[in-house]
Amino acid sequence: MTDTAPESPHYTAHRKGEADKDFDAIWAQPSGIRSWSAVNHRIVGKRFLVTGFVFFLIAGVLALLVRTQLIVPENTFLDSETYNQVFTMHGTLMMFLFAIPMLEGFAVYLIPLMVGARDLVFPRLGAFGYYCFLFGGILVLSSFLFDAAPAGGWFMYVPLSTSDYTEGLSADFWLIGITLAEIASVTAAVEIIASILCSRAPGMSLTKMPVLMWYFLVTAFMIAVGFPPLIIASILLESERLLGLPFFDPSLGGDPLLWQHLFWLFGHPEVYIIFLPAAGIVATMLPTFVGKPLFGYGFVVAAVVTMGVISFGLWAHHMFATGLPIMSLTLFSAASTMVAIPTGVQIFSFIATLTLGRPRLTVPMLFILGFLFIFVLGGLTGVMLAAVPFNLQAHDTHFVVAHLHYVLIGGFVFPMMGGLYYWMPHITGRMMSERIGTWVFWLMFAGFNLAFFMMHLTGLRGMPRRIATYPEGIGWDRLNMLSTIGAYILTAGIALFIWDFFRHRRTGPAAGRNPWGAATLEWLYPPVAPGYNFRAIPEIRAREPLWEQPEFLDRPPDEITGALRAYPDHRRETIGCDPVTGAPLQILRLPHPTWTPLISAFGIALAFAATLASVYWLVGLGGAIALAGITAWVWEPSDSGVTRATGIRHGLELPVNIVDRRSHLHIGIVGTLLISFALFGSLLFGGLYLWNTEPSFADRTATPDSRAALMAAASGLVMAGLGWLANRWAQDNAFRAAGLIDLGLVALAPLTAALLLAALLPVDPWASAFGAVGWALGAFVTAHLAVVLWWALINAVRKLTGLVGPGQTLPDLLLMTFCKATAAMTLVTAAAYLAVAS
């Protein structure tokens, strides 16, 4: 095999390879200050895990403050305002800055290793998401420094969180900081979907994927659909606070319940978004310690998919006490009960797997058993709460606190702890202590059950949530004392884990190759695996490759045969596959370390923070930095247009970065558009909701201009046509003509936005909530049109300056898809305006 690049007319001027470096050096990670330019999934994944765990510890300290306050009646340890801040930040940090980032950390770290890839397909997006999460978390936490920590509960209900009832910046810290952090979640969703579907090793069909990949895949789709309602709700509420737009103001046709609908449209799937990857971790570890494959792979896949979908029909079971029609409540009650079926299928599959062999009682296995015990109890109280009459009795009591902690700690923290013990040798190369780990488990298990089982009883005895203190002698004293003692014991378990972590880094025994005897690919190399994951990407013939393909463990891993051993262009690359069959489809080029993700995230964070501080020139500066960073990110020579040998299957040659709808970039765009449509759908839902529930205000709202709306629709259609034409002509190598069409898009995008604006001119957004939602729809579509403008400008300049060669038309394919989606949103928005006007 050759290490030299074949002559290629498309690469002579724009080579990005590092010709002077060998394979190890190409994959070496930058050190010192340059380590912040690293984009490799193992580094980014570890950063997510460490940062998320730090937030877990901070949130845990806040929980201890809450429990200390409640240890005795009439306690004055914390005043009421501080108590409100502490429990609000506890919930916020746990839900947004710990649980989701931790699952992202596991996904980012494990996916390439388990599917047989050298990195995620969008490493820069992963790094960008991490920095958004980090900056968002810092922004939220910094509220303590300004004595402006949010105090309205982790769900920020209106009207409490509107300017009338929460003056100052506390709610703004929450809304802006969390929205910034959520960028990481939605970018991770796109990354996970595209990586699992497009970068599996040759032969790894969907049914040969490790079951954890199904869990991550479904979770990613859930994030893509579930997070947008909260992002929209946060933007609407911040607009109300900042600009006075009356989205939730009942005196102007708004509705506080709209916030609750949007929040819980996110909030309930969020529980499953947290639970599913954790269950996937269990489904991965369990076969290792039982020594048998997972029982009922097909059952579990079906259960995960149905659970992922049905969980979206449960949101209003958090609103049973808000006065919704009983018929609606019963519908949500039915869905809440039905979701127990796929949950039960998974749990029974785990139990059946346990019966297949004689489980080894390692520390991760203890955490699996703890998960089963605790989560099943939490699930049972969940079924109780799904019944409307019981829910009305238990609503807002400590019974609910007990239920949600049984579900979240049992369903996420215990599997996560098991996962950390399980994969720690992979990360650090050393084993953690079994003896200390057993202590950690029992302290956590005993402490947890003591703390939270008691809360069922305090709840049933009527103790409300979120009260800062309580009178003595009404039956709550001893139960609260026991709960607090339990919380301290739970904390001792976590503290012991941290001590063991630092101890094992220095003195833990070295982990051998495949230390647990696992079946999955991440254990192919002795820990710590090299940064490229696989020297040659192996062919997969079985779902448990390390158990069923003996050639993987009978020789040094660097000598295992596979694809891409040669690296003629001296680039980072991996195999791209057909999303369903797993057949090799392309050679997928991966970026080297770069500062663009950090610069782009910094610009966005600056803009968000400046909005908080109302320094609007700084908002502009932050936006400009972000735009410059993103432009530098995408402004790079194309890798497409050539084919290279893969070294497998008798000389199989594959195109580099294929121009095809199955390409990772196109799948990524489709994932991004799924998020966009979920955002758009949330706004439409808001408009329909207000139209239906506040008809008198909606009917009094001034109507949009029909003629302008019709012209905007026509303009949107032309935009879709031009996007198609630019792609077509680029494929025919008519680059100049395609570039001119791109310039047409540059002109048409602002024209379409202007027409939408003209349609809206008669509508006063401050006069009614319904009118304000109309403007929000217009603004949302305009943001997409701005993306079309900038993207088409970049495409045009690249073509007209000769930077595009034959076969390098991936940007045109992607822009065409984006134009079609934007045109569809324009059409729907115009149709909505016309419907209101008619």
């Binding site: 969907l206 049914t207 097909g298 998919v305 149905t306 018929m327």
Partner: protein, 109 residues
């Protein structure tokens, strides 16, 4: 294999569509705008449920046949098995969606 993979996702998405239709019908009958009488809501919900349940049933039977045809232990068998279970769970959940509309006499119970 692609149609088999679709068979896993489609029944669950059918449930989602049916849920949205029933929710929209209840909203049309029970919100302030009062777009429809409850009896009309009930009738439309029954029609929608029959249609959705029929489709789910067809998918259930076809996934069952596929499961029998596929060689044991093959990729196709695993996908067909997952498709069959998805269709079954979705069918039950679709029927559950109809329950409140049939059970309750009015919006307020």
């Amino acid at each position: 294999m692609t149609p088999l993979a679709r068979r896993i996702a489609l029944p669950a998405l059918l449930w989602a569509l049916h849920f949205i239709v029933v929710y929209a019908l209840i909203s049309a009958g029970c919100a302030a705008r009062a777009l429809a009488e409850v009896d009309v809501v009930r009738g439309l919900a029954v029609v929608a449920t029959c249609a959705a349940a029929a489709v789910a049933l067809v998918w259930l039977i076809s996934a069952g046949l596929e499961r029998r045809r596929a060689p044991a232990g093959s990729d196709a068998a695993a996908l067909a098995s997952a498709g069959w279970w998805t269709a079954l769970i979705s069918l039950l959940a679709i029927l559950a969606n109809l329950w409140p509309v049939v059970l309750l006499g009015s919006c307020t119970g």
